[in-house]
Symmetry: C2
Subunit: 209 residues, 2 copies
């Protein structure tokens, strides 16, 4: 379990020439950092004087950000597994036409999972971006910069995870699968950079205000 490593050990593993963890897992951790920062804003708001009006919404927000954090850590591990499966399929024998066909089928199955996992990472990161807005708007003003750091890391992680989706889609022959994945990617790339800048505008307003 890479998420049970010490922070320093995880970074050693990430930077090494070993194929896992890779950029998809790095993106998942970036998204989990973003989710943790949204949770921090909630935890610094719940029970604080002057914030009783928003307490119920902050509790709801916290439940969502904590669920996303756990899901992103699950996907961090999953990304290392799907990459290993692609490599295993790649190394299957292809001496006969039968072996060649079996290898190609295994490759396609593994590639679909290797696209699906970073796509899920990107979608969960996008949800963190969305949660940062109520955290910035309603949360403790003293912690608003933490919502800012959170939205920046989550949006960057989303965009990074999508790179890995693009790479794997290029080798997938199932046109329906590719079309559907590209539609899901387009939803994210169309909206989330703008949402991040809106959150940052709200954060800067509070910092300067």
């Amino acid at each position: 379990m890479f998420t049970e490593m010490r922070v320093t050990e995880f970074l050693d593993a990430l930077s090494s020439k070993e194929s896992v963890p890779g950029g998809g897992s790095g993106a998942a951790l970036g998204g989990a950092l973003g989710a943790a920062l949204v949770s921090m804003v909630c935890n610094l708001t719940i029970g604080k004087k002057g914030y009783a009006d928003v307490e119920a919404r902050m509790r709801d927000l916290l439940a969502k950000s904590e669920a996303l954090r756990q899901e992103l850590l699950r996907l961090l591990e999953a990304d290392t597994q799907v990459y290993t499966q692609v490599m295993a399929a790649y190394r299957l024998p292809r001496k006969t036409a039968e072996q060649e066909a079996a290898r190609e089928a295994a490759m396609q199955r593994a590639l679909k999972e290797a696209a699906e996992v970073p796509l899920a990472i990107a979608e969960r990161c996008a949800e963190v971006v969305d949660l940062a807005m109520p955290a910035a708007e309603m949360g403790n003003a003293w912690a608003v910069s933490d919502a800012g750091v959170g939205v920046l890391l989550a949006e960057a992680a989303m965009r990074g995870a999508l790179l890995n989706v693009t790479i794997n889609l290029a080798s997938i022959t199932d046109a329906d699968f590719v079309r559907e994945a590209e539609a899901r990617m387009a939803t994210l790339t169309a909206n989330k950079a703008e949402m991040k800048e809106r959150v940052m505008a709200a954060v800067n307003d509070k910092i300067q205000g």
Copy 2:
């Protein structure tokens, strides 16, 4: 040492209502993730067939990204200490004019350090952004998406760290200190978003090419 915690424990600590680690430390870890991903590209290039020509430059790049990774982890810890110092100064007694003056002096000293540390985090993250370009251009084409994830996380972390600088500068009365810090911030905000997009263009060229 927060960096010696398990990844899951660090995220628990970050998301909690405890004041440290805060957003500055989250940004430092985002930058360290970016540096680790640049290192990964180097490690997947050095000694690989077809990359002998760039090996010396990749070794140089690796030494730089590894030094930045270590420095960002040191700054992650430092950010928790300076925040604790600001809180300690804030709690000093102020019943007499003498106490008031001593408290204000302690606050100003602590605030300067609490601005300096996230500014250093931002500057180190900006250096990671710069290193991502040769990693993307010269590194193993198979790992180019890792350079992309690295530059995205490092630039986001830089921008996040600068939020904490802004907040602390607002309470610092030494106009020369503030002016100098703002000049250092301006250098980063003027150039690094564009550099990130140039790296991303290089990454996308290689992915699609």
